[in-house]
Amino acid sequence: MGSEYEATADQHHADDHGHNGAPSGIKRWLFSTNHKDIGTMYLVFSLLMFFIGGMMIMIVRAELFQPGLQFVDPAFFNQMTTMHALVMVFGAVMPAFVGLANWMIPLMVGAPDMALPRMNNWSFWLLPVGFSFLLGTLFMPGGAPAAGWTMYPPLVMQTGDAFPYMVFAVHILGASSIMGAINIIVTIMNMRAPQMTLLKMPLFVWTWFITAFLLLAAMPVFAGAVTMLLFDQFFGAHFFNAAGGGDPVMFQHIFWFFGHPEVYIMILPAFGIVSEIIPTFARKPLFGYNSMVFATASIAFLSFIVWAHHMFTVGMPLAGELFFMFSTMLIAVPTGIKVCNWIATMWRGSMTFETPMLFSLAFVFLFTIGGFSGLMLAITPVDFQYHDTYFVVAHFHYVLVPGSVFAIMAAVYYWLPKWTGHMVDEKLGKIHFWLSAIFVNITFFPQHFLGLAGMPRRIPDYSTQFADFNMMSSIGAFGFGLSQLLFVYIVYQAVKGGEKADRQVWDNPIGLEWTVPSPAPHHTFETAPEVR
């Protein structure tokens, strides 16, 4: 037995040397163990999913353009809403962050690669499997899942053939996220360059470190929740059925125990990105580094004890409502610390406004607006009025689109020169920024008014009093969507060619990633770098 192993091992040994460049052909991507290649695959996949999820919601926005049903059946409408959310959350935003983590964390901590490179490959290649299940459901009898991304029973039990595929897609995507999170944790704990102490780590690394723990604690719970759905549906279990002693609301508790940390999974890395970019373009060190780390950790902790703020109307006992209201309100404190620290970083800096900085500034503005509406939602008695209306839709799109998505775009603009070796077309970048920033507000700001005026969410048709704002919102959505085509063009252009970037790319940015050439060679930091 032993000798056999040695034989294969020797082969490995043999081709271990001799190349510094990337392997070529399809195998480069299928078999990759390189953090940069895997990062690229994640990012490309995420962009694809962003477009698919976006197209789905364009159908929704077209239907909502004016009252009356013009294009789709209500059942299909619900499928689109549900799939939009699942694709955007699990296909676009999370993979984008994992892709950025893959690319940047080893570069930022001075590691030769991710700690577990083969598993890294698997984490990525499970995504296409999960999404082939999920997107495949669109073509099944009964259509795609249509019970909302929250999958509440008993409604979700009315899903047709898509049901088990939806459950298994969640399992697969969960496994992918868990492996990704383990890899990130281990890389950060074990692969840092010797002098890179924890409190010298860039904030992007810190926020991802904490995010990875959220993933590790939350994703398995989600897997458990959908497993229970599966058992109820196919094996006669009674978890969510009152007649058998279960409770439909129990699913909501389990779901949101995952779901709330999930939304912070989608924002903490964004905080990290912005904390990298603002100091660079303000030419001033990040204000309050320690309190930034501490605030991130507090947010992560609090995120596990606030979940039922999504469920104020389910009929919880008063004590529960009070507890979840207070704990939710508390999150405003650490988040506020972060916002104030960013502003203090800008204060008395020497700012320039390149595209990544513009996106980051818009992030700070618009995320905060989303945070304010979040705080309003946290006030239980008033949430009775807001809950399940477009006010909620407005809230979470403010934190997710000009929040998470803008941060991802800022990151791409910021690091693209490092990845491709080419500067980004600043002029087009700025045009893309302004179009996005304007349209995103036209899309989502009116939704606050719709919600306050009483328009429920997840409806395909509405009363005529809501017509004007819906039309506005739809126009904004089409505009925002079309503007993203420009983004693709800009990225394509930078990949193909353009002005050469030097090592530093920007004006004296801080961090190890700026010490390697642009484009970053296939293998970096095979021996640990010096850290100042």
Binding site: Y152, V314, V339, C340, M346, Y462, D468, M472
Partner: protein
């Protein structure tokens, strides 16, 4: 789409775009804010809402103000030299403590309001509300009055995909029902909500109450209307295909009117309550008269059994393959008229007229290649009621 509404659409988009750019405040007829409502609770909620809103606005002015000042003054193009400070315990303490104080100060009135909202004692009457896919059932506990409340016929016809009817021509489009809930003014009314199939949520903004209707459990809420009038709401929890089409209408009457109403209702309880179309415009009335069995089927039944009769098994059975639909007429009529207790298939006797049911049944038995040749007469239905 008719020519005129196409025109109107283009006109609307143009005005909207112009308004959006030049004067957002010009939307005189638009609702921007939460309504005050007509209960003490809803007023309190409104006050709370305004309080937090203003707190947020003030904080926003500070935070964004500082940021904007910094963006304007501390830019390289104005020759700003970067400072090098990177922390200040004092500043950080300030922006930790101040938010805490603000939050505590907001939490107190919020908690007080909540406690009042959850106090169900001393209610003067109780109504049990049951959500169905996709209608509401109201039962006045202690009386014999109970009935279903569904989307008004006028809206239901207009909302079909490509119905050709302009929603703007329908009064209270999607916010009108056949049988509104009727309650007396100045009375503390306790509502018990539950559901028959999936989770729904009963919400009337003017009362500021919203509670989920969870199958197998009863949730409670209460309101006390201070003014008479008609108040509208909608189901607020995704409940499937017809979620957007299960509105709530509450008629708050004077106490005398209410007593008269409930007496009349008690006496006439067994009379079929066929919905009136009198509130609809002439356009719709004409459309309603001409509805064929197929159209009626598509409006009332296709939500579950689908337009092609295949249903969505296992939840909603296929009618094409149904032994019942292919079998003797009497049993088929019985299921449709009286429903199957405990399932989503409720009896349609109170929702559709004899003629309409007859048309639907005739259609079912001859559609989708079944071609039984049967024709069901309204008198057959009347007999089965």
């Amino acid at each position: 789409m008719t020519g005129s509404s196409g025109f109107r659409l283009v006109g609307k988009i143009t005005t909207l775009l112009t308004l959006m750019i030049i004067a957002p405040t010009a939307f005189a007829d638009m609702v921007f804010n939460l309504r005050r409502g007509i209960t003490d609770t809803s007023q309190a909620v409104y006050e709370l809402h305004m309080l937090i809103l203003w707190v947020c606005v003030v904080i926003a002015i500070f935070v964004f103000g500082t940021m904007i000042v910094s963006i304007i003054l501390h830019r390289r193009s104005r020759g700003a030299e970067p400072a090098s400070f990177s922390h200040s315990p004092k500043a950080e303490l300030i922006w930790t403590i101040i938010p805490v104080i603000i939050l505590v100060w907001m939490a107190i009135p919020a908690a007080k309001t909540l406690v009042v909202m959850e106090d169900f004692r001393d209610s003067e009457m109780t109504i049990k509300i049951t959500g169905y896919q996709w209608k509401w059932h109201y039962a006045y506990l202690g009386t014999e009055v109970d009935f279903f409340s569904t989307l008004a016929r006028s809206s239901n016809i207009a909302r079909q995909v490509n119905s050709g009817i302009d929603p703007f021509s329908v009064e209270n489009y999607l916010l009108e029902v056949d049988n509104p809930l009727v309650v007396p003014v100045d009375t503390k009314i306790r509502l018990l909500v539950t559901a028959n199939d999936v989770i729904h949520s009963w919400w009337v903004p003017s009362f500021a109450i919203k509670k989920d209707a969870v199958p197998g459990f009863i949730n409670e809420m209460w309101f006390k209307a201070n003014e008479t009038g008609t108040y509208r709401g909608q189901c607020a929890e995704l409940c499937g295909r017809g979620h957007g089409f299960m509105p709530i209408v509450v008629d708050v009457m004077s106490k005398d009117d209410y007593t008269a109403w409930i007496d009349a209702r008690t006496a006439g309880q067994n009379v079929a309550m066929v919905e009136s179309t009198s509130d609809a415009g002439p356009e719709i009335l004409a459309a309603a008269e001409e509805l064929s069995g197929e159209e009626l089927y598509n409006i009332s039944c296709s939500a579950c059994h689908q337009a092609n009769g295949q249903g969505l098994p296992p939840t909603f059975p296929s009618l094409v393959d149904s032994a019942l639909v292919n079998g003797p007429v009497a049993k088929h009529i019985d299921v449709v008229v009286n429903g199957r207790p405990g399932t989503a298939m409720i009896g349609f006797s109170s929702l559709l007229s004899d003629a309409e049911l007859a048309a639907i049944l005739s259609y079912e038995r001859n559609a989708w290649g079944l071609n039984s040749g049967d024709t069901v007469q309204p008198s057959d239905i009347a007999a089965a009621r």
